[in-house]
Point group: C2
């Protein structure tokens, strides 16, 4: 795994927060860092050139969605995900596990894997650790994720324990069937809201010496305080010299608190989804740009934001575009919202480097 | 009108085609030139930065639509259309006439003007030459259009004659109520498919010595050969030293033939509308990118096209985006389609300058 290194530049003296650099074959990722989601090999509404301007370094794509459309063979035919979607920076693919468990119908789970009905054509599709690895190897992202079982929240302790143990067995099969040194396989710590299961899973996964670790199973309906607790219970049992990724989380408070607990990477669909609903993330708040109060507001969305949207347009113009249902509204709001969350993690990074994190971000941490 | 000049750099020896430069307060427009349409102060799906890369020089906006949403006062509050939409190049607004006649309900036409029901809130709205001028003066485009009556096709000779005469009276009221020297008011030659009415209208409008002339009323359902005929009948009666604009036309053949008859400017919603239907204009054809033949086609949309879409992505990726209904599909296809039509007119311009037009574009002219 020599293509991947994680160096910690600075640890926060009064929290577990750390500023580091995770290097990949497609460049470095400065951590902590928010990663936008490009489900179907496009961060919705943004061209790669626009995405570049947001400061995003690593982006996600979804194996489940890409397996169904266009199929990984076509992505490989284009030369892999980077060249298919025109993004030359680092890419991470998830395993499809989360989507199989949250989106699919006619699901059957066995120790072998999962079968489900394709929402595209009704075919029965099998997903196993080996198949997920093959799909992700074919897609060719820099970081690939273990195929795991994600029990919904709430779930009984027994259900979570069964899923956690099965996820560990599946992880070992992922490791056995993954051989591409240009792709780093991250393990995912499950365990739900049960501290002993989290500790057990983290300890076992640590012994497998993977190039990175994710805290999983925290965004399937759990309240924020439980996410917080799961992260605090898990991180101390993960190695210091590997990046840590909190899956599916991208709100200000949860990111700030998870960073204080030692998380390095985040992803979330919120910035692009909010944009498509005409909403902007501005200094910690969600604003609906359709609101009449913006109709004659000729100031920038956020005067402190350096993004294309904030430097070129007014709230009045964005309000007009949203009210007119012009697609440019969703592009301009996505540019801002992605920039905003990336910047939030960048500002935290700078604060950590300057020993100012706990003080400067106190309002998010208490 | 000293802010506006039209210089003819070269006339084609064997057709009426000419290559010129039309200067405006926001920069020059090299003619012949296709102008993309930004109905609601946005060329649909494109940011101004993306629009810039297409080679578009002048863009259109629609007074009718902007009057209804957000209202010209808000555009003026932002500092006018250029700053509202972030486009610092030349802009042309139409008068609203075409939309009032083709889109609105409960229409009543008198010599004073037109009243119609707002599709937004049901209010009865009046549009007169004076109101159209006030709206367009407030919007602040470089070129503004006379408010005219557009009879539908087919219409009787009597109906067309009535509309043509009324349009002339309305034009004189437009001239009387327009006073901003930073905006050039173009007259619109009506006359339908009746040569004598076209000649009469052109001759009368010529005597008004306007800074530019449009051939109007040719796109409301008329067959291409009638457009062709109307242009050929009208242009010889317009002055040589003023730009000529064929409204609502933007197909390859009709533009090539109209240029051969002496037209300088075109506009059409085709490139962005086709894009939103997943279609690309490629070397004179319309391709539906959803077609299965593109699924594994890893070549550029058009290897000869210098646009962002053609240099960065494959047909397979565009096919995937269209099939997935990803909004980026519409943006990337709009970038290409606008570039394609602008380039078509640019290539004609270069051919005229090199005395090669009639020969090089013969296939479109016969």
């Amino acid at each position: 795994m020599s293509h991947f290194t994680f160096t910690c530049d600075r640890s926060c003296p009064d929290t577990r927060a750390r500023a580091g650099v995770f290097t990949t074959p497609h460049g470095p990722v400065e951590t902590p860092r928010f990663m936008p989601v490009g489900t179907l090999a496009t961060v919705k509404t943004l061209s790669p050139a626009q995405l570049q301007t947001t400061g995003a370094q690593m982006v996600l794509a979804n194996s489940y969605h890409l397996h169904l459309q266009p199929g990984e063979a076509i992505v490989a035919g284009a030369g892999g995900l980077h060249s298919f979607m025109g993004w030359n920076g680092p890419i991470l693919t998830d395993s499809g596990g989360f989507q199989v468990f949250s989106l699919s119908e006619m699901r059957t789970i066995t120790d072998e894997g999962v079968t489900f009905r394709s929402p595209h054509n009704g075919d029965i599709i099998a997903m196993t650790p080996e198949i997920s690895m093959r799909i992700q190897n074919t897609l060719g992202a820099d970081v690939i994720m273990a195929f795991d079982e994600c029990p919904p929240y709430p779930a009984t302790r027994e259900e979570v324990e069964t899923a956690t143990n099965r996820s560990e067995r599946w992880l070992k099969r992922c490791i056995a069937s993954h051989s591409n040194p240009n792709q780093a396989l991250f393990g995912i710590v499950q365990g739900g809201v049960y501290e002993d299961l989290r500790v057990m899973a983290a300890t076992r996964l640590r012994s497998l010496d993977l190039p990175g670790y994710a805290v999983g199973g925290v965004s399937v309906g759990e309240p924020p305080e439980l996410i917080d607790a799961a992260v605090r219970q898990t991180v101390p049992h993960l190695p210091e010299n590997k990046p840590r990724y909190l899956m599916g989380v991208g709100t200000y408070r949860e990111m700030a608190r998870a960073i204080a607990s030692g998380i390095d990477l985040f992803d979330c669909v919120i910035p692009t989804r909010f944009a498509r609903h005409g909403a902007a993330l501005v200094q910690g708040e969600r604003w609906n740009l359709k609101n009449a109060r913006f109709r004659e507001d000729f100031t920038p969305l956020d005067a402190d934001c350096p993004c294309y949207t904030c430097t070129q347009f007014t709230r009045a113009y964005l309000c007009h575009l949203v009210r007119s249902k012009e697609l440019l509204a969703y592009t301009l709001l996505s540019i801002h919202n992605v920039t905003e969350l990336v910047r939030f993690t960048q500002r935290i990074r700078e604060a950590i480097l300057g020993d100012r994190f706990a003080e400067e971000f106190r309002s998010w941490l208490v």
